[in-house]
């Protein structure tokens, strides 16, 4: 088990290095020199001034040197300064992260809580009307992107019913209820697809588990169906669910960009978009690497959790 963790961690470091280098490469190789973002075009007539700025920002060094310097700072938590606001990238990330983190946690929590009972019921009543209804709804949810769901919810719950605010954000420190009122619609918009994906996974997995011998022997012991479903079948299925949740974090991270834009939430995704519109390359680079790092870390964590939940893997190494 120890060597497994060690191997996994070595791979993690390798992936992170590659991810950061690729991002750096993208930002620095693609057309659109950073100097354009630093100095207005008409000011670029002054060659000396341009040269001075280039030197100041280290744009004249070879790329590998610049990458090394940037990486050295980045591992210490310094992603450089925004070239637009001149605040540090890391302080902006730190400031914006709680919003996105809460949005994703609420989305995943909501989805898992709904998907598990739905998937289990559909598997238990496989082929019946109930199963058809659940699977049908999942199929529809799977086709509704976050921005369409979000617009629908804004129209219905904010404009027509006036129950919830259409846009904006209340920090958790402003009170739990006010905070929840601003997070519920964005989270629900993102949750539709997640609910659909998780429900399908749980359904097919529980259906397979129900064929196992140990389910038959659990029945022969006189355990109630509900107990067998939730205490015997769900555990093996939860392994698959954890993996799928981990893999889906990538789509979800993309989704938060769209939903934060739609609901005007001051999260990481919105910040990335702003940086994109402002061509703030330090910010784009910092947030992209940060987001990819989170995604990679989550999937490594999933692998490790997998090992904790399944005693067979735990002992195998």
């Amino acid at each position: 088990m120890g060597t497994f963790i060690a191997k996994r961690l070595v791979r993690l470091v390798g992936t992170l290095l590659a991810v950061s280098f690729l991002t750096f490469l993208l930002v620095n190789l693609l057309p659109g020199d950073a100097i354009n973002a630093l100095i207005p075009i008409d000011a670029q007539q002054d060659r000396e001034f341009v040269e001075q700025i280039r030197e100041e920002w280290g744009l004249n060094d070879p790329m590998l040197v610049r990458y090394g310097r940037w990486l050295g700072d980045a591992v210490q938590g310094d992603f450089g300064d925004s070239i637009v606001t001149s605040r540090t990238v890391s302080s902006e990330i730190f400031h914006r992260l709680p919003v996105t983190a809460e949005l994703m946690l609420v989305t995943v929590g909501l989805s898992v809580m709904l998907a598990i009972p739905l998937g289990v019921m559909a598997a238990y009543r496989e082929g019946t009307r109930l199963d058809q209804v659940i699977s049908g709804i999942a199929q529809v949810f799977l086709s509704i992107p976050g921005f369409v769901a979000g617009l629908l919810f804004i129209y219905v719950f904010a404009m027509k019913l006036g129950w919830l605010p259409a846009t904006g954000w209340n920090r958790l420190s402003n009170g739990l209820l006010d905070n929840l009122r601003t997070v519920i619609l964005p989270a629900l918009s993102l949750a539709l697809i997640e609910i659909a994906v998780y429900t399908r996974v749980v359904r097919s997995d529980v259906m397979n588990t129900l064929q196992e011998d140990f389910v038959l022997s659990a029945r022969a012991k006189g355990l109630s169906d509900r107990y067998i479903l939730f205490r015997h079948c769900l555990r093996p299925s939860s392994l698959t669910l954890i993996t799928v949740v981990g893999l889906n974090i990538g789509t979800l991270l993309g989704g938060t960009v769209v939903v934060e834009f739609l609901f005007a939430m001051p999260g990481l995704g919105k910040r990335l978009l702003d940086a994109i519109f402002q061509r703030d390359f330090m910010m784009i680079q910092g947030i992209t690497v940060f987001v990819a790092t989170i995604y990679v870390l989550v999937n490594t964590a999933v692998d490790l959790i997998y090992m904790l939940v399944d005693p067979r893997i735990r002992k195998a190494d």
Partner: protein, 366 residues
């Protein structure tokens, strides 16, 4: 099978049980009209090749055949109530409490992700509302009972950390936990090492005697049944072909299929390198079973009548020993039929004649 036993000892009476699975290819008639009775504290062996319907029979009585494509008819009266017409909620009360089952493969019949301790006691707690602490004490007692060393440590283990024999002992402990009146043991030793098989069978036998529990031992191996059960039922193609107290069955096998099963068993008394007689041919198609006796296509004693009329299950001289055959082993008709078939060169008869010429004349008539 003795009718002399007073009726209050009677635990289970199965009458004309039939089970059919509807699949795309047609209706598989897995059990085709089985009847038997079992008294409290007695043991019954059900013997037959795989696919003969013995496992389906046991699961049908326990109502454990899952799926909407299964239909079971007939009655299985258990302590005065017909199990087959009981509401499902009542069956949940019967399972574990009154009826229990030990399955063939202890590798797969325990949940790999749940500790042994919970699996041994969860039904105790659900059925009897036993608390956590008392359940833990009972679990230790049960594991001691089935001779598992260091029970406390084993209860914390996961199934894959235990050997096959150990796991089957756990399964037996689970089955015994609520003191059931009837235990089905479905091929309990088939998946185990030969060295462990005897220990498990002895354990089952001891528990059965000490608890005055009735037991149905389902097996493909006549050797398992010998000396361990009071009565034996030989099944072929979903029907009972011979039924007798185990002692008299081994003394005098009357059905050609029982005889063939016995002949295919290796025996220590045999000279080494003796060829074992496999039964020629294949078990019949249960979607469209052959007319007449189902064993007739493979039977060394087969006569034209066997292919047309199904022989009834009936007794000749011993009222407890019943069999379904027109040309029973050891009868003058049987010997004549066999001789005729050998002379005509019928393959299955010739095969028997070659491998074990001396055994054909065994039985009372020789």
């Amino acid at each position: 099978m003795s009718d002399a036993v007073e009726t209050d000892r009677r635990l289970l009476t199965v009458t004309d049980l039939r089970t059919t699975f509807s699949i795309a290819a047609g209706d598989v008639q897995a059990v085709r009209g089985v009847s038997f009775a079992l008294d409290r504290g007695r043991t019954l062996g059900i013997v037959g090749e795989s696919g003969c319907g013995k496992t389906v029979l046991a699961r049908s009585i326990m109502r454990l055949n899952l799926g909407s494509n299964v239909t079971t008819t007939g009655t299985a009266e258990f302590a005065g109530r017909d199990l087959l017409s009981l509401p499902m909620a009542d069956m949940h009360e019967m399972w574990g409490m009154e009826l229990a089952m030990v399955f063939q493969d202890p590798m797969t019949s325990l949940n790999p992700l749940v500790r042994v301790g919970r699996q041994v006691t969860e039904h105790l707690r659900q059925h009897l509302g036993v608390g956590r602490a008392e359940a833990a004490r009972t679990a230790v007692d049960l594991l001691n009972e089935v001779r598992i060393p260091e029970p406390e440590a084993r209860l914390k283990a996961y199934p894959h950390e235990l050997s096959g024999g150990m796991r089957q002992r756990i399964c037996i402990a689970i089955a015994l936990a609520c003191e059931p009146a009837l235990l089905f043991a479905d091929e309990p030793t088939t998946a185990l090492d030969v060295t462990v098989q005897h220990q498990i069978l002895n354990l089952l036998g001891r528990e059965q005697r000490e608890r005055d529990m009735a037991m149905v031992l389902v097996t493909h191996d006549l050797g398992v049944v010998a000396g361990r059960t009071d009565d034996t039922l030989v099944m072929y193609a979903g029907m009972v072909v011979e039924q007798a107290p185990t002692g008299s069955l081994f003394e005098e096998m009357r059905h050609p299929y029982s005889e063939a099963l016995l002949r295919s068993l290796p025996r220590t008394s045999q000279v080494s390198h003796t060829r074992l007689a496999a039964i020629t041919g294949r078990p019949p198609d249960l979607i469209d079973p052959p007319s007449g006796c189902a064993f007739s296509p493979r039977c060394p004693y087969v006569q034209p009548r066997c292919r047309e009329e199904v022989p009834p299950l009936s007794a000749v001289d011993d009222p407890d020993h019943r069999f379904a055959c027109w040309t029973p082993v050891g009868s003058p008709e049987g010997m004549a039929a066999f001789a005729r078939n050998v002379a005509e060169g019928l393959p299955q008869a010739v095969a028997v004649d070659l491998t074990a010429p001396s055994s054909t004349g065994s039985g009372g008539a020789s």
